[in-house]
Every structure is written in structure tokens, then in C-alpha cells.
């Protein structure tokens, strides 16, 4: 469903950030697992481009709120050449940095939603 209002867009981004957070958690938890390849979720711009084209459900369970990872695609990260002998590609510092970005974006998201919600209530009241 294409996000048209501000609240729709905020809801979509909040879902995306939550999926990104769980992907980062998976990377950090598996930082010492041999053969584990670090994942990341597709960028939010790609998500918006994708949902702008209407999608038809070919199989029940492909779309909808209960799908795993809310329908966002998770793919292995591009490798910038840091590979451990155990074929593990997780760099802990990068993952923690990404987690910081997620936090900042999430705070901005909830602050925007809160502000516009209070403005709506203010205008409707009285």
C-alpha cells in the first residue's frame, strides 16, 4: 500500500527501522559464528519505489502485516574486503554504528508523529 499521508509514511518507516534493528541484532549475535555472512535490509528508498507500483497477491501470506520481516527484503551486505579466516564477515563497529543510526531515525520518527498528532488534536478540540 503506497504511503500517502504523513502518518502512513511514518508507520512504514517505523516498520522498516524495526526490521533493520533485528537484522543488526542477528549480525551482532553471530559475530563469532564461522561462515556467517552479515545481512542488511534493502534501503528505504527502494522500499518506497517498490510499493508505488501496486502489487497483486499471488499467494495468501505473501503480503500483509503478518509476513516475516514485514515483506522487506534482506540480503547479504556488500563485503568491503574484511573477511575472517572463518569466513565470517561481521564488523562489530559498523553494526554498532548502524544501530545508532536506527536509533536516531526512530527518535525522529516518533517525535514527528507525536508533534503532528498533537497538532491534529489541537485543531479538532474546542
Amino acid at each position: 500500500m503506497e504511503p500517502v499521508t504523513l502518518f502512513d509514511l511514518a508507520a512504514k518507516q517505523s516498520q522498516w527501522l524495526a526490521v533493520r534493528q533485528s537484522t543488526i541484532a542477528g549480525n551482532i549475535a553471530n559475530a563469532n559464528t564461522p561462515g556467517y555472512v552479515a545481512n542488511d535490509v534493502e534501503s528505504f528508498d527502494k522500499v518506497l519505489d517498490r510499493t508505488a507500483v501496486s502489487m497483486r497477491t499471488t499467494e495468501a501470506g505473501h503480503l500483509g502485516g503478518n509476513t516475516v520481516n514485514a515483506g522487506f527484503r534482506i540480503k547479504p551486505q556488500e563485503n568491503d574486503g574484511v573477511v575472517m579466516p572463518s569466513k565470517n564477515t561481521v564488523v562489530l563497529e559498523n553494526e554498532l554504528m548502524k544501530a545508532g543510526e536506527v536509533r536516531r531515525s526512530f527518535e525522529l520518527n516518533t517525535a514527528i508523529v507525536k508533534a503532528f498528532h498533537s497538532m491534529m488534536m489541537m485543531a479538532v478540540k474546542g
Binding site: L9, D45, N109, I112, F116, M120
Partner: protein
């Protein structure tokens, strides 16, 4: 959503202002000639930036949610919108209550 808010904020002024204007223009005539504009125009001027400010805030927020906007600018825009909206709502409430009071006055 912004249309809804601005509708309440600025456009609904018009009937109330015209009604109030008809009732108070003799008294306000003095002030009007000093100010060079009617009371209604003054109120309109106070309320009309609201729509632009609100749209600015909405645009900025959508950009911020997509990921590429300066945080401080967005926060400033949203705060201006909140101030403008609060002002507009306060004016609306005052004008409505003034109109009601006038309409209750004996002729």
C-alpha cells in the same frame, strides 16, 4: 490532513469575521483609519501564514522520514507550525466567542 487543519484554522474565519465586522465597525472605524486596514484584514494577516507554515512542516517531515533532510530544519519547521496553529486556534476561539457575545447583545 493539512487541508483539514488549515480549514479549521484560517478559512473558517471568514463568516465569523464578516459578522463581527458588521457589528463592530463603527467602534473600530477609528482604529481602522489609523491602521489603514480593517480589523478583519488584521486578523487575516495574523492567520494566513498558518497554511504555508503547516505545509512547510509537512513537506519537511516527509523528507525527514525518507531519510534526507536536515534535522534542525525539520524541527524548526514543525515548531513554527505548532506555534502558528496554536495562534490560529486561539484567534478562532476568541473570534467565535466574540461573535457569540455580540449576537447576544441587545440591539
Amino acid at each position: 490532513m493539512i487541508g483539514g487543519i488549515s480549514g479549521i484554522g484560517s478559512l473558517q474565519f471568514k463568516p465569523a469575521l464578516d459578522g463581527a465586522d458588521a457589528g463592530v465597525s463603527p467602534a473600530q472605524g477609528g482604529a481602522a483609519s489609523i491602521g489603514g486596514s480593517s480589523f478583519a484584514d488584521l486578523l487575516n494577516q495574523a492567520a494566513s501564514p498558518t497554511l504555508g507554515t503547516l505545509q512547510n512542516a509537512q513537506q519537511g517531515s516527509m523528507q525527514a522520514l525518507k531519510g534526507d533532510a536536515d534535522t534542525r530544519q525539520v524541527v524548526d519547521a514543525v515548531m513554527s507550525a505548532q506555534q502558528a496553529l496554536q495562534t490560529a486556534v486561539a484567534i478562532r476561539d476568541k473570534v467565535v466567542s466574540a461573535y457569540l457575545e455580540i449576537s447576544r447583545m441587545g440591539i
